[in-house]
Structures are given as C-alpha cells and as structure tokens.
C-alpha cells in the first residue's frame, strides 16, 4: 500500500520567507508526527497529533514554527520568517493506533529545506 508522502521533496527559500511543508499520512493512521533531522542535532521531535486530542507541541523550537492537521489526515508544517539554522530535512511519520507492532511509526521521505 501507499506509504507516507511528503511534498515538496526539496525546498530552497530565502531568509525571512515563510514556507509550508505538507505530509500525507498512511490511510487509516490516526497519529502523525513531525521530526527534524540536521547534521548537528540528529533527528529531533517537533510535534505530535493524535486524533482529536490537543497536539503535543513540546518539540517546536520557536514560535515561528506551527503545524496543523486538517480532517484528521493531511498535515502542514509552517515555518515563518525562515532562518539559516532552519535548514534541515523535515520528516513526517504516521502510526496506526494500537499496541504491539502496530505502535510503529512509519516515516516519509522527508522535505529537504535550504534557507539561503
């Protein structure tokens, strides 16, 4: 079946511009996560959506970062007034609610963001 998809695959922007990154989770997966992967910091959690519950935003690095999930499916991560340190690969993962191996998070290919 189709996996997690993300768009765009690459994004180059100028410092100070806003960007939107999109994630389409696996159909039927109720949980969605955003992570950021950079050379210096490795793979870091940003935000987590589970059903209709309030999202866990504890990993967002600043108030320039926000995310929403519409209709319990597609999610958009928005970065306002981008800075060069925002350059990284932004990864989305989704999970089917349940125990055991269904607790697995499946990752998309990521969006590579470069801020000039």
């Amino acid at each position: 079946g189709a996996g997690v998809s993300q768009s765009p695959s690459n994004k180059v922007t100028e410092k100070g511009k806003d960007v939107e990154l999109r994630c389409d989770p696996i159909s039927g997966h109720t949980a969605l996560y955003w992570y950021r992967q950079s050379l210096g910091q490795g793979l870091e959690f940003l935000i987590y959506f589970q059903g209709n519950s309030a999202p866990d935003k504890s990993g967002l690095p600043s108030d320039r970062f926000s995310a929403e999930r519409t209709g319990g499916s597609v999610s958009t991560l928005t970065i306002q007034r981008t800075q060069q340190e925002d350059s990284a690969v932004y990864l989305c993962a989704s999970r089917k609610r349940g125990g055991g191996n269904t607790d697995t998070q499946y990752f998309g290919p990521g969006t590579r963001l470069t801020v000039l």
Binding site: G42, E44, Y48, S58, D103, Q105, F107, P109
Partner: protein
C-alpha cells in the same frame, strides 16, 4: 548529555562479517526500543521493534535490550553491501509517545 547516545562511526566491515551496533540511554522511563535503517536522502525505515528487555531475531537481524545497563544492541549477520546505510536507535516511554533518537551510526559493508 543526550538521552540516547550512539557512536557516529563510520563502521567499515567486509562483506559477510557480523555488524555490531550499540546505543546507550539515560531515561529509565523508556520502555520501547527500535532500530531504523536510513539510506542516503531517504526516510528512516523500521528494522526491529522490541518492548522492554530481551532479544528479538528477524532473519539476519538480532536486537538486544538490557534495561539494567540501559544498553541497546543490533547485530547484522552475513552483512551485504546493501546493508550500507545509517542505523538509528530510538526509544520512547508509553505507547505512542514521541521517539528519541540516537545520532546514528554510518555503516559501510565492503564487497
């Protein structure tokens, strides 16, 4: 200090050798442990998933968790050049929680 520590490598082995990868973690609340494989410019792909202490085997892969020493291991038997990738260990607390990753170990299997 990061909650999950992993040697960045690179780890270079000849084809057919056993690859041994390790992570240590500091958070006693971690209950679930995973190993992901990541090829260049691709997303992480789950290899092994274990709950609490013990061993788990899947084909050429064996994962071990020792909660008493907070030590996680992955062994790859009969390594192949296609195993060349970055291997990431990850942990989380309760089911569904956010993952905390190690920095990844780059592995190179030479033909």
């Amino acid at each position: 200090q990061k909650e999950v520590e992993q040697d960045p490598g690179p780890l270079s082995v000849p084809e057919g050798a056993i690859v041994s990868l390790n992570c240590t973690y500091s958070n006693s609340a971690f209950q679930y442990f995973m190993w992901y494989r990541q090829y260049s410019r691709k997303g992480p792909e789950l290899l092994m998933y274990t709950y609490s202490s013990g061993n788990k085997e899947d084909g050429r892969f064996t994962a071990q968790v020792d909660k008493s020493s907070k030590y996680i291991s992955l062994f790859i038997r009969d390594s192949q050049p296609s195993d060349s990738a970055t291997y990431l260990c990850a942990s989380h607390r309760a089911a569904g929680n956010k993952l905390t990753f190690g920095g990844g170990t780059r592995v190179l299997v030479k033909p």
